[in-house]
């Protein structure tokens, strides 16, 4: 059984009487342990797909099964609990809370999950060790470099031991060298058996993942578009 089963999902917005289909009858299965990228130009609907799969949003139509549970009709409160326990997010702009220290930022998901303070500290330290930042716990995000901030964000995504990690343009705000280090971190996490979904518009980044899903105009494109810049230089690898 797949970890995520997306079946005939549509997301329709109404803007001034005009119907906008951000997602149009999309069906995807994602297995546990997969390293997958969702690729597509801006406005294609890839972010919408990530938001629906990541329980930030609910679909207009269709069903989503996450880890064996149907979530398309869940209440906002249930979705919050699922996000807290099963999903980790890494964003383009890091999205750390500026007033909190690195350690407090990493502890935050557990605060909302209701862990005791000693457990929070211990697990936050473990996660920070994993991203090699356990010597920066007392710093504020503004005192760190972009790459370090993104690693803190990854630690925060990992801290509740989620089933899936969504990374939305995780290198979009970093220089290419730092971005490469972050991607290596994702590869390492993938090797450790985590399910990672990378959302990007950049085929070069998508190239590191074994499986790619291309979204165009709210639909899954059957084939990877060869006209996307340089994608032919990164042939698809067979999914493991």
């Amino acid at each position: 059984m797949a970890l995520v089963e997306i079946r005939n999902v549509s997301k329709i917005y109404h803007l001034g009487g005009e119907e906008i289909r951000a997602l149009d009858d999309v069906s995807v299965d994602i297995d546990g342990g997969e390293f997958i990228s969702i690729i597509g130009p801006s406005g294609s609907g890839k972010s919408t797909l990530m938001q629906i799969a990541g329980c930030l949003d609910t679909p207009t139509r269709g069903t989503i099964k996450l880890d064996g549970a149907m979530i398309q009709d869940a209440s906002p409160r249930q979705l919050a609990a699922i996000r807290n326990r099963k999903i980790g997010f890494v964003f383009q702009f890091f999205n750390l809370l500026p007033k909190l220290t690195v350690l407090q930022n990493v502890e935050l998901p557990m605060v909302y999950g209701g862990a005791s303070s000693s457990e929070r500290r211990e697990r936050a330290m473990q996660a920070l060790k994993l991203v090699n930042l356990d010597n920066r716990t007392k710093h504020r995000p503004s005192q760190l470099s972009g790459g370090q901030q993104q690693r803190v964000a990854i630690a925060r995504a990992l801290v509740n031991d989620p089933k899936i990690i969504f990374a939305d343009e995780p290198t979009g705000n970093l220089d290419s060298h730092t971005g490469e280090l972050i991607l290596q971190l994702f590869r390492q996490l993938s090797r450790e058996g985590r399910t990672i979904i990378l959302v990007t518009h950049d085929p070069e980044i998508a190239a590191i993942t074994p499986r790619r899903i291309e979204i165009r105009d709210g639909k899954i494109a059957d084939t990877v578009d060869a006209t996307l810049a340089g994608l032919d230089r990164f042939p698809l690898q067979p999914t493991p």
């Binding site: 938001q51 930030l56 906002p76 919050a80 605060v111 209701g114």
Partner: protein, 453 residues
């Protein structure tokens, strides 16, 4: 657990924005401080007024005094007898609802002197011993008049401490308490022997201040000389200082020594200045006064040339004044607290707009609506409660400052009730002010919040 964590996040946020939180609290601080200080001032006023009331002799004291005859009896005006000792005897025998009757014959423009020193007492009155009970006097030294003094019209007097202070020297000046029993003084140049002296009447506040001053003097042993008055006006409470300047002589002595030699056309004036009466039961005040009136109408040959002046109306005025002061002060402080609450709401709405993205992040990593609600609400409550506590501290300072500004006899008294009231009210204000921003934050859509720049 989750709730506790949310609250702790809220508190951390209050701490993280120290200056902003303090400015937000300012409204609450001032509101609470003014409420408590105002209540303390009113309480001080109330205490002072009550002490005055007691110093003047309780609520059940009624004064019978002369008045002009009513218009329909004007042709009888020359027949009007006025209050005389006959009335007193008649009341004593017939008005059963009175428990105490004290005739007073006052000497106007009396001057008491001794050697170089002289003064005008607040009252120089010929009295019966009933006056002690009636005006709540306490004799500390010597004795009061006996029947023999009254019968023989002895030249004896009982004085208040202020008269002693003026003629013999006050303890503050001489450093020791002079008890002038057996000494002689002159009332309008007639010699009188002092047989008794009252205790020193003063309000609780004066007593405290005097004791402090004495302590300070004995500790410092300085040559400070005369104690100076601070502030303006006469120091102390007028009712008490008046009472201290009293000089009493036997009623008969007053008649023989002063009144029988004066009067119009060589006829001495036998009128009493007034008659103080005390009713047995304050509840029966009206009936008692009616009875007294019936008796007096007989002795006055049906001419109504007297009236009753009771303290009830004064008491009512005092209560009304206090109530008004309390009400207006309460309203002002309430408005201040309300404005403080609006300030909190305003700042919190602004801070939420500023933090939409942060709230979005929290929601994306699993904060539920109720958790965000609790977090924002606890921020509001924390601000108002900390503000209220700071306000309580400030109120003590404010009261100290007011004391320094005017050392009035009615020292403010801080009481617990307004403190509790103020803190409860500001906590409520904090909750109400926090609810709307908290609902707004809790309802934020995480996607839009994350996208917000």
């Amino acid at each position: 657990m989750i709730l506790l964590n949310s609250i702790s996040i809220g508190l951390k946020d209050v701490w993280a924005h120290k200056l902003r939180s303090l400015l937000t609290m300012l409204g609450i601080i001032l509101g609470v401080a003014s409420l408590v200080a105002m209540a303390a001032i009113v309480k001080g006023m109330e205490n002072g007024m009550k002490e005055n009331m007691i110093a003047m002799g309780g609520a059940n004291k009624v004064t019978v005094q002369d008045q002009d005859v009513p218009p329909e009896q004007e042709h009888l005006a020359s027949e009007a007898p006025g209050c005389t000792i006959r009335d007193v005897l008649a009341l004593r025998d017939s008005a059963s609802m009175l428990e105490l009757i004290s005739p007073e014959m006052e000497l106007d423009n009396a001057v008491v002197s001794r050697g170089e020193n002289h003064m005008r007492p607040s009252e120089c009155v010929g009295v019966w011993p009933a006056v002690l009970d009636m005006n709540l006097h306490t004799l500390e030294h010597g004795r009061f008049f006996t029947d023999l003094d009254e019968e023989l019209a002895s030249s004896v007097c009982v004085i208040g401490t202020a008269i002693r202070d003026e003629l013999f020297g006050s303890p503050e000046r001489t450093g020791r308490e002079i008890i002038p029993i057996g000494e002689t003084l002159l009332i309008n140049e007639q010699p009188f022997t002092i047989v008794g002296m009252f205790t020193r009447y003063e309000s609780e506040q004066e007593k405290k201040e005097r004791e402090q001053a004495r302590q300070a003097r004995s500790e410092a042993k300085s040559e400070a000389g005369l104690a100076r008055q601070r502030g303006w006006g006469r120091s102390g409470n007028w009712a008490f200082s008046r009472k201290n300047e009293t000089i009493y002589i036997p009623l008969n002595t007053m008649w023989v020594r002063f009144r029988s030699a004066t009067g119009t056309n060589g006829v001495p004036n036998p009128r009493l200045s007034n008659i103080d009466i005390r009713v047995v039961d304050v509840e029966q005040m009206e009936a008692s006064l009616q009875q007294a009136k019936n008796v007096l109408m007989i002795t006055h040959n049906g001419i109504e040339d007297f009236n009753f002046r009771s303290r009830e109306s004064e008491l009512e005025t005092i209560t009304r004044q206090i109530r008004n002061a309390r009400l207006s002060g309460g309203i002002i402080a309430g408005i201040a607290l309300l404005v403080g609450g609006i300030g909190i709401m305003n700042i919190m709405l602004a801070s939420i707009n500023e933090r939409i993205r942060e709230i979005g992040i929290c929601k994306a990593i699993g904060a539920s609506g109720p958790a965000v609600f609790a977090q924002i609400l606890s921020e509001g409550i924390a601000i108002s409660c900390i503000g209220a506590l700071l306000g309580l501290g400030a109120s003590f300072g404010l009261v100290k400052f007011l004391l320094l500004l005017s050392p009035s006899q009615n020292a403010p008294v801080i009481t617990l009730t307004p403190m509790v009231l103020a803190v409860t009210f500001s906590a409520m204000v904090g909750i109400i002010a926090g609810i709307y921003p908290a609902i707004k934050a809790a309802r934020l859509d995480p996607i839009q919040a994350l996208r917000y720049e």
